[in-house]
């Protein structure tokens, strides 16, 4: 389970890096991408072909959403933007339901689903998921630390005014951020779908945990997000197993309470950088 949360958290952090908000529609975007890849496979496209096409589709889809819907809101108050995310959520969910209806779909995994190395606890698919997450993490780390464009994106998100002064097109950096977040989200979706089955509401539960994981790890740190993801998975299970009586019924609240406790002690998350506000 941790791997699922980690994957989603990574996408959440990605968009937070780019636009400084949490995107509530992130899960739905990932779900839609996953449906697109499923549809491609139904039409006979092989898995990896569909995978690549979906990545490209999601990337441009993310950019298009930003250009069309959120660029006009750039000057509006933040809370209005949040309302926009909610609207986007409702639209994508409803459209996906109309196109592909609400029955669950089987989604293939490239890793197989037999027990991993004879282990009773995780399957090869889950092991594969962890692998992909780590790969993504390393890739993102290099992207943000060492490439021009990665640095420009970070600059555009954290200090837009100064970034503009040094010649960065901040508006397009934001669009790019949306694109990348959508692409990473689609990978997360395609990895999660084999476990939870594909349907329009599949991301609802995952997203809550993804947010929690991202916030726990620190919204500014991809590594933190991944670790946060695994921690949330572990918290949840330990609460379910070891707290007698209410543990099982209340494992989500308990996991969330733990996260809040962590936040109270370390408000920027485990791996986040504290932000100092200027008066």
């Amino acid at each position: 389970m941790g791997a699922i949360y980690a994957c989603m958290a990574l996408a959440v952090v990605m968009i937070y890096q780019a636009i400084d908000h949490l995107n509530f529609a992130q899960g739905e975007m990932a779900m839609f991408s996953t449906f697109v890849s499923w549809q491609l496979m139904q039409w006979g496209v092989p898995y990896w072909g569909a995978f690549v096409v979906t990545l490209v589709f999601s990337f441009f889809g993310g950019i298009a959403i930003e250009r069309l819907l959120f660029k006009p809101l750039a000057k509006a108050p933040i809370l209005t933007n949040v309302a926009g995310f909610i609207a986007l959520f409702a639209i994508i969910n409803s459209v996906a339901g109309l196109i592909w209806d609400f029955t669950i779909k089987q989604y293939p995994t490239p890793f197989g689903s037999s027990p991993f190395l004879g282990s009773q606890l995780i399957s090869t698919h889950q092991a594969g998921m962890i692998g992909v997450t780590v790969l993504l993490l390393v890739g993102l780390y290099f992207f943000f630390q060492f490439t021009r464009i990665g640095l420009a994106m970070r600059a555009a998100a954290s200090v837009p005014e100064s970034a503009r002064l040094v010649g960065i097109n901040t508006s397009w950096m934001i669009a790019l951020g949306w694109g990348m977040a959508a692409a990473i989200g689609s990978i997360a979706g395609m990895l999660i779908a084999p476990v939870v089955f594909l349907e329009p509401n599949m991301m609802g539960g995952v997203l809550i945990y993804g947010f929690a994981a991202a916030v726990l790890g620190g919204l500014t740190s991809p590594l933190g997000a991944v670790i946060g993801g695994f921690l949330v998975g572990i918290f949840e299970n330990l609460a379910g197993t070891y707290i007698p009586g209410v543990g099982n019924e209340l494992k989500l609240p308990i996991a969330l309470a733990l996260i809040i406790t962590v936040l109270v002690v370390k408000p920027a998350g485990l791996f986040g950088r504290p932000i100092v506000k200027r008066v």
Binding site: S94, F102, T103, Q120, I192, F197, N201, M202, G204, L252
Partner: protein, 406 residues
């Protein structure tokens, strides 16, 4: 001053209501029925977390369109007014009141969901508006004494649970049972049914785990249940989670006797996505035929259903169990209205609904019949056990009723 005004206004409305009421009564019609039209209300979760069930409402709409196209019921067209409650009880109350007070329907048919129905039950009974064939399996709908205007349709969750308990006590008296249930009215009702029927043998239950419908996956619960060492696994789950459970069982190589609740027996919607090879030998019980099951391809009832879908609801997914459900429920409704003849009062609707004798909608399993009486508000009471083999369910044993007394 103000209160006087209020008095007068209230009095005036009361007089209007009174006179219009008597005028209608002379014609043997209640609000919502005329010489040309019968107005039926309905509440469905078209949006929100349970939107998968919206298909039921759409199927019913399509079925009433068919009836209207064929001339209606005794010359009257059905006007089906269906509203969205998003599976939220307060919204259901708002919509129910809109149906009754603003649209003035004759009755409310097949509103979906236990919470929503619980929320509107008292209101509809106070208004004496029939709340017919509610789309939930809670046991409480069969209570003609306290709620004479409310009636269920499908077999109750508890009676289904009784059947499994009886089967287990007979076939596997030394079994250790592990139960996974959804933490809501559906899961709890079911669990109660199981425990009631097991009675003194409730100690057979080795472990129970509940999950929330908002959880992404039930994998962790399955792993823990396996650790209990049980050899019977009862899965009281909705389709998505049932499929996850079937798959996870295979992944962790746990092979208990697997019983899945009737809610999640759809071949197309649950078992195929989970993998046929993982579901072999699984047990359940059914009352309706399955649109994805090839054994019914030549069944006359199902053929009628398919012909109807082709003409009136072409984009329906016939693998979806909700289609079969909506069709059967709508057929029952039409039957009741036919029986009412020209006496379309709410009283008579309830009277006729409570006197169904051996009625068989096209989609019920052979041998299962709908029977109601003034003291029995549970239309479908029988189920038949079945075992999954190859790519379909094999029915076995007798048609059984889930009543505990038997």
């Amino acid at each position: 001053m103000r209160s006087e005004e209020l008095c007068i206004a209230a009095l005036a409305t009361a007089i209007i209501a009174f006179t219009s009421g008597t005028a209608l009564a002379q014609k043997k019609y209640d609000t919502g029925a005329t010489d040309t039209e019968i107005k039926i209300g309905n509440i469905m979760p078209y949006s929100g977390p349970a939107s998968a069930y919206g298909v039921i409402g759409k199927t019913e709409q399509a079925y009433f369109n068919k009836i209207n196209a064929e001339g209606g019921i005794n010359g009257r067209k059905i006007n089906f007014v269906s509203y969205d409650d998003g599976y939220s009880p307060p919204k259901a109350v708002e919509q129910a009141r809109k149906l009754v007070e603003s649209d003035e329907v004759l009755l409310v048919f097949n509103p979906l969901g236990t919470p929503s129905n619980s929320a509107i039950q008292k209101y509809l009974n106070a208004k004496k508006v029939p709340q017919l064939f509610v789309a939930t399996g809670a046991t409480k709908w069969n209570d003609p004494k306290n709620f004479p205007w409310t009636m269920g349709w499908q077999p109750s969750y508890q009676s289904e649970a009784h059947i499994y308990a009886k089967y287990l006590m007979k076939e596997k008296p030394d079994g250790k049972i592990a139960i996974l249930f959804q933490n809501d009215d559906f899961g709890k009702d079911y669990l109660k049914g199981l425990k009631d029927a097991l009675g003194a043998k409730a100690s057979m239950i080795a472990a129970e785990e509940s999950y929330e419908a908002t959880e992404p996956s039930v994998d962790n619960h399955i792993v823990r249940l396996k650790a209990s060492g049980a050899d019977v696994f009862i899965s009281i789950t909705t389709p998505k989670f049932a499929a996850q459970a079937i798959k996870k069982l295979a992944e962790i190589d746990w092979k208990p006797l697997h019983i899945v609740s009737n809610v999640s027996i759809s071949v197309g919607g649950v078992i195929k996505p989970a993998g046929f090879e993982n579901a072999q030998g699984m047990l359940s019980a059914a009352y309706a035929k399955d649109g994805a099951d090839p054994q019914w391809d030549n069944d006359p009832g199902m053929k009628k259903l398919y012909a109807f879908l082709e003409k009136y609801y072409p984009d329906a997914n016939r693998l979806d169990a909700s289609v079969v459900y909506g069709y059967g429920a709508a057929q029952t409704m039409v039957k009741v209205l036919e029986m009412c003849g020209d006496n379309l009062t709410r009283d008579n609707v309830m009277k006729q609904a409570a006197s169904l004798k051996d009625f068989v909608p096209d989609t019920l399993l052979p041998g299962i019949k709908i029977n109601t009486s003034a003291t029995d508000f549970a239309p479908i009471k029988q189920l038949q056990m079945m075992r999954f083999k190859g790519e379909k369910w094999d029915l076995f044993g007798d048609i059984i009723s889930g009543e505990l007394s038997e």
